[in-house]
Symmetry: C2
Amino acid sequence: MNKYEEIANELRRRIAESEYAEGEMLPDQIALSKEFNVSRMTLKKAIDIIAMEGLVFRKRGVGTFVLKSALWNTSDSKIDDYTGLSKQFPNKKVESKIILFDIVFPSKELQSLLMIEENDPVYHIKRLRIIDNKPYILEETYFVAGLVQQLTEETIYASIYEYIQQTLGLKIGGAYRKIHADLPNELDLLELNCTESTPILEVEQVVYLTNGTPFEYSTSRSRYDTRAYTITDIIKQ
Amino acid sequence: MNKYEEIANELRRRIAESEYAEGEMLPDQIALSKEFNVSRMTLKKAIDIIAMEGLVFRKRGVGTFVLKSALWNTSDSKIDDYTGLSKQFPNKKVESKIILFDIVFPSKELQSLLMIEENDPVYHIKRLRIIDNKPYILEETYFVAGLVQQLTEETIYASIYEYIQQTLGLKIGGAYRKIHADLPNELDLLELNCTESTPILEVEQVVYLTNGTPFEYSTSRSRYDTRAYTITDIIKQ
DNA sequence: AAGTGGTCTAGACCACACA
DNA sequence: GTGTGGTCTAGACCACTTT
């Protein structure tokens, strides 16, 4: 772990536990760099990180303040999280029910989204993610089989993302997402414990490796009352 | 203009004009820092910026490469847009119907979200945004009256965000957003031309000035079949 | 072993706010 | 003027990949 990451973690903790209270000023950078025994550059990098996350804001000539809003500390999924559900809900029972697991050739649309040819096979997976015995997310995923190799049922029951990142060593570079509401489809009615008038939240995404290669197209559907997405957006000045 | 911004601009130009072509490697950091006559730290900061924008990606031990992806570069229709609907739909007729316009004192929750006291008045506005004669978004907005001063009905019919940025000269620093699906409420049924089983997409947001002061809390509701939000998310390496 | 990007330092100077 | 955050340097060492 880098020094600046460790410092950022410690600062996050202090803010979370109100050692630095809302609206209050943090100690100045020189004092903090002395406390952590690092150079001011390194300390500033840590503050850069938590400022990007929206925890603090800085006023040149004045100081660094804790920024807070009740919305901030919710349990909603952060949209830019690739750790998988088990990490996001460490204290809950996370299970998967596999509805479909197959290898197919991609449709025209999928070829275009994943930048592959018609003879490049893709894994096609439908999973129901269950948290604390309640149906939570219905995922339909296509993985480029040439990249995400040797996917087994066993892996799908556990965490696919852990497999991709830890075992295969692939590095995720980013994602393009679309969020919209939808009417429930037949599978939703069957699996998500909802009726025909239950709104559904769907996140559609293409996920890329660091070299720009798309490796996944997926849709994640949840009942309107079980999931929300949060986005912190800070304009770079 | 800082050195690293100038260098980032120059690198953007070279990539845009294919002086560094797609997939090719940039000169290494030491060579570039010599070319621009800056320290390597400063040069790296410039590359950090264009990497965050998704123009290049870096492989430790290998080099820095020009990254291209059609999706990546068209990501300008992003969620973080503060120009107002008229700018987003330049070729369409954008109208507003004012449902409510009032000044009130904030609820406890609003006080916390906007970091104000109970005796700090807020504007309370409900507007229906209409595009090409079709109801599009139902907005409920609270502005901190001490910041967004002298709001008139006239302004609300036009663009509030233009007023805030152009006339008042306030600078928007960012926003915290939550996206979820919802059941239609009574006002939705009345104004958005929907039935009780029409899913609604709601975006809830707190918008901040550059100094971290929240000035707006709002919810924007649309029918599921009229609006989606897109997000491009590039992981910092 | 050589070359790449990533981190970190100790110190300098600048830009800005406020008293 | 004093104190804050922002930028920049010149050089060191580390982590990783390729030869």
